[in-house]
């Protein structure tokens, strides 16, 4: 079956009304996938990113795609945080509607278009039930003990930084409605990358890597403060964050972990000398953008493999932090904090870190939030930070 690509005048809003099964919305690209032509499991271990690329290329070859399409075909990918944990997935939809804000295309990956509706389905008629709490892998007070233990080890010099996360399990009397969740996330976090891949739905502000030919960009985030409705107080909180030695240290570790990788593969890597502020609806972050040109051929999945896990979601040193996460966190992260994004046959693509997300399956959901711990971190502050992050995701499910 030849992969067919047609121009279309469908807007993304119109496409979202058709309830796509797979979604990627970023400031540069929007893709909505319908149906699942193929679901690929790249397995575990350090070779999983390369295997994902090879499996995708083999599928494209088997479909007899034309050699130089204008755009696509695309794979939607979501990888587990821990390379030793199974659950990573590549989804190739039957139909993809893609837009780069100037043009739109309809990409048919499948033999039949039975997953594609030419008319909007409208919003789901069933009134959704509210999300109901079902527990956490580690109750708050035990997570607090884990955080205190991690801070103690940091202060003893065993490592510099570790990110510990926690979860909330939710249930509902009706299945969660994914298009409502997506719409709320997109409305509330318009500057974030909004994604839906095999039940993992979220809005991430953290661009792990974007590759367009030789050009690559990334955005390191670490160090956070709450937002305040009063603009004066909000600015004050931002100023304090920019001056906080603890948060600047936490941020420096995250941005250095990105810089170390991109310096190896880029020429003229550009980054500001000091982090700026990224203000989202519920939280503000210290942010450092990176931009460079690749000196050698690395496709986007190569770069993802090199960058993940950054210190923004793992820690420093990386291996020590991963060991500590496994020992203390008391839960399985699954695809939370793993790379999520899109890629094509040319090696281009965009990947975010799967933050502010939920794993949704029918009427069950699991929300995640994490906090970076460095010397000087205070356990109850980290508990409060994760509580605020969990509330943001919870509100998208209401």
């Amino acid at each position: 079956m030849t992969i067919r690509i047609e121009s279309t005048d469908l807007t993304i809003e119109a496409v979202l009304e058709r309830r796509p099964h797979t979604v990627w919305i970023s400031p540069e690209m929007t893709l909505a996938g319908f149906g699942a032509r193929l679901r690929l499991d790249p397995g575990v271990g350090p070779g999983r990113f390369e295997r994902a690329r090879l499996m995708f290329a083999e599928w494209v070859a088997s479909e007899g795609a034309h050699p130089a399409p204008d755009i696509g075909p695309f794979g939607f990918a979501s990888f587990t945080f821990d390379e030793q944990v199974a659950g990573s997935i590549i989804v190739i939809p039957e139909v993809v509607v893609a837009s780069d804000r100037k043009s739109s295309w309809l990409i048919r990956h499948g033999a039949e278009d039975n997953e594609w509706s030419d008319s909007p389905l409208g919003t789901t008629a069933v009134k959704p039930d509210r999300p109901r709490f079902a527990g956490s892998s580690l109750p708050d007070h035990l997570w607090l003990e884990a955080v205190a233990a991690a801070i103690k080890r940091i202060e003893e010099g065993q490592l510099q930084k570790v990110v510990l996360a926690r979860d909330h399990a939710l249930w509902s009397k009706e299945p969660f409605v994914l298009d409502r969740v997506l719409d709320k996330l997109h409305q509330r976090f318009p500057d974030c990358m909004v994604y839906l891949v095999d039940g993992l739905v979220g809005a991430s502000p953290e661009l792990l890597i974007r590759r367009r030919g030789e050009s690559v960009t990334s955005l390191a985030l670490a160090g956070s403060a709450r937002r305040d409705p009063d603009p004066v107080v909000d600015d004050q909180l931002g100023s304090e964050l920019l001056a906080s030695s603890k948060d600047l240290h936490e941020h420096a570790l995250a941005s250095e972990s990105v810089e170390r990788v991109l310096e190896r593969v880029c020429q003229s890597l550009q980054r500001p000398n000091r982090p700026g502020l990224l203000k989202l609806a519920n939280v503000q972050h210290l942010a450092t953008p990176f931009a460079g040109n690749l000196t050698e051929s690395h496709d986007v999945l190569d770069l993802v493999g090199m960058l993940h896990p950054t210190a923004a979601v793992g820690g420093t040193p990386t291996l020590d932090a991963i060991e500590m996460i496994r020992a203390l966190e008391g839960m399985e992260r699954g695809r939370y904090a793993g790379p999520v994004g899109i890629f094509d046959l040319a090696g281009d693509g965009e990947f975010a870190i799967a933050l502010r997300c939920a794993e949704i399956s029918g009427a069950r959901a699991r929300l995640f939030a994490g906090a970076g711990l460095v010397q000087g971190s205070v356990p109850e502050d980290e508990l409060e930070e994760t509580r605020i992050k969990l509330q943001a995701m919870l509100s998208a499910l209401e």
């Binding site: 109750p139 007070h141 607090l144 003990e145 205190a148 906090a371 205070v378 502050d381 508990l383 409060e384």
Partner: protein
Amino acid sequence: MSSPPPAESRSTESATPRLGDLDPWDEALLAALERNPGERLLTLPELAEASNFSTTLLEVVIREGFLTPITEEPEPLFELSDADSLKAGLALVEAGLPLGELLDLARRTDTAMRPIAEQAIEVFARYVRDSVEANTTSDEEAVRKLVSAFTTMLPATGRLVDRHFRRLLIDGARRRLAGDT
């Protein structure tokens, strides 16, 4: 992440006047505020054992300003009744209330109640203490009346607040149940 208001701002510690610097009736009030000299005090490890709290959790409660040692010398010492308060908090957590939510409720309760407590003290000073001072003929009588008023009013206030909040909870729960099965 920015912290909630620092513990210092919520601390109940304040500049305590020394006995001998005050009028006799105020000295008597101050004495009534002091702990019972015979009461047993607990060290931090003893309080942890008595309340079933971990040391980590106790340190959090202290940093948040919800638990204040009665003295810092020769080491932080706590009242036996603190263990009862801690056990009450632990009962909420063990019943399923996440600690993060409990701390958030406690911070907001503290913020809401602090100005009301200040106002209550002002009202006591203006309408009870000043009145007693104006309408008694001896220091002894003033002391007796003030201490009596204080020892009556403090537990009565506690009962009123407890009763009112309990009523708010029950009414709110009834409304919630009426609208959400």
